[in-house]
Amino acid sequence: MKKQIAKYYPIIPVFAAYLVLFLIGRNVTGTWQLVAMLLFYCALGQAFNIFLGMTGYVDFGYVAFMGVGTYGMALSITRLANIEGLGAAVIAIGFLLALLMSTLLSLAVGAVALRLRGAYFAIATIGVNEGFRFLIEGARIWNGSEGLIFTAQLNQILGRETASALMTFWADIMVLIIAALAAFVTLFYMRSKIGYALTALREDEDAAKVMGINVTKFKIIAFVTSACFAGLVGAASWALKTPYVFPPEVFEIHYTIEAIIIVLLGGAGTLLGPVAGGLIYGISKYYLSIILPGFQLLIFAPIIILIIVLFPEGVIGMLKNRVKNSALARFII
């Protein structure tokens, strides 16, 4: 029993980091917005890491899952607003719809693309976000390129005050919960057969196959899990915080780039990495946007290259090597 619990020690520093963030945001006036942004980046990194970190595959269309998640929430609010007596259940239905839609899209993409190896997979994913955006715009699905605006419906469902509390505070708490959940699932996978299979295929896919591992199945598990969390992040952080959705915004490749930076900075495939990466990225982006508005990527693009060439393990990866034989090693993976 003790051994079972000891397996989950590494979750402690992750949860501790989130708790500290929360306390700072609540108790230091004027920091909640920054904390909310950091939580968003940590959640994004935590979700993306499940796929990129654990499989070593890169999905350039990742933002598509956040986009459909946002649409899931938006559709639930706009379509169900006029049904009496649902109240806050509309939000819950929105999350379910976000989950469902990101699962379906990731299954459809994954079923095709995950049969392919490395480079071919990356090529297949590169158009997912654009493709989906142009489907919505081209076929005028869900109001096409005009998007959906649902501030009024949100006010109608929850009342003006609750709705505003949701947008400015509770949505961020939901992001926090999603980030923590994603971290827990990551650790759960790492400690189960799924994690071992994924590690094997990340290191050598052919060898893993020869050993009898159904590599496609495990890749799809990681892909869909990662996509589901992306959908939830989109629903909470985009649809609920800013109650509108426009296709060019929610399918913007920019967010895939940010997810890649965060995971690489922190260390791909580590549990604590996305938290470290999210904090470093979020804080530096926050200050860069004050010093150099609009040119954060000019700084971050060379940083990605530097990390890839010089420090492929990322911050936590290097820390992990440093504390290898100390008592800390049990907590940092």
Binding site: A119, I123, G127, G131, G138, L298, P302, I308, V309
Partner: protein, 297 residues
């Protein structure tokens, strides 16, 4: 009426397709030789477009002269990126080169944005039009088409007739064997990478004839996607396959635009972009090594 429109659009499609083909040859060349997927491909096309725009607006240099200049700029960029970054990553996992080329693309976009700003620009190179019965073709587009066929032919001759071309081909066949026979494999890698980038940047020049006011630091994204569709259509590792893939893609794109426009209540342009994504998935599902290439290679 519809038939006339369709045949007119198909001619336009062939002309545009020749440019698409040339715009993809660099991608296929780099993948064929280095086994590196250049995810930042579109950004290099964008660089070519800006080089042309700047030469035309600031110095009054015609886009025809801009083609070799853009090619030179591309070769230079290719050599710089090869020796500073790509060379170190050849033995690294595939993930590293995917992310590195992606980051190079983002870096180029941001640098161009810093210099030129992010609004849409264009230039007007008026050299007249030519009537073809069912459609009217601006001469600038015709020149671009001829230019890209010429470049493709030159590349073919270079591969077949020169020592350097044979060296690159031998590396594609068997890099270890080539090394044993005294081929400078590292040099062949550098040359192919530079050549691939050079072709891509030069194709950006030709492409500007088709987008009168569509030059913008982020214009490359759409072309990256198209280039991948074309490359897998023609077999990812074959530059000539890519050229013919481009022709096929141009025809499909323009033909489908005419057909989508017949459906009421849709935006045909957006749907053609969606179609290219679907095509990519379908081709990868059926035959990832390319529909147009005969063998598995």
């Amino acid at each position: 009426m519809v038939f006339e429109q369709l045949s007119g659009n198909l001619i336009q499609g062939i002309v545009l397709g020749a440019i698409y083909g040339m715009a993809t040859m660099g991608l296929s060349l780099i993948f064929g030789v280095l086994k590196v997927v250049n995810v930042g491909h579109g950004a290099f096309i964008m660089v070519g477009a800006f080089v042309t725009l700047w030469l035309f607006n600031a110095l009054g240099i015609s886009p025809i002269i801009a083609v070799p200049i853009a090619f030179g700029v591309g070769m230079g960029l290719g050599l710089i990126f090869y020796y500073t970054i790509m060379q170190r990553l050849l033995k690294a996992p595939e993930l590293a080169t995917l992310l590195a080329t992606f980051a190079i693309g983002v870096l180029l976009e941001e640098i161009v944005k810093l210099i030129f700003g992010s609004e849409f620009r264009g230039y007007n190179w008026a050299v007249g039009k030519i009537g073809l019965g069912v459609t009217v073709l601006p001469l600038s587009k015709l020149y671009a088409c001829i230019g890209s066929i010429l470049v493709a032919a030159l590349l073919y001759l270079w591969f077949k007739k020169t020592r350097a071309g044979s060296a690159v081909r031998s590396v594609v066949e068997d890099s270890e064997g080539a090394r044993v026979c005294g081929v400078n494999v590292g040099g062949a890698y550098a040359l192919s990478f530079a050549l691939g980038i050079g072709l891509t940047v030069a194709s950006g020049t030709l492409l500007t004839m088709f987008i009168p006011v569509g030059i913008n630091p982020y214009m490359g994204g759409g072309y990256t996607l198209k280039a991948f569709v074309i490359a897998v259509l023609g077999g990812l590792a074959s530059p000539y396959g890519a050229f013919f893939g481009g022709l096929v893609f141009g025809i499909i794109e323009n033909g489908s635009y005419t057909l989508f426009a017949l459906i009421p209540g849709v935006e045909p342009f957006a749907l053609t972009r969606f179609l290219s994504f679907v095509m990519l998935l379908v081709i990868l599902l059926i035959k990832p090594t390319g529909l147009l290439s005969g063998s598995g290679k």
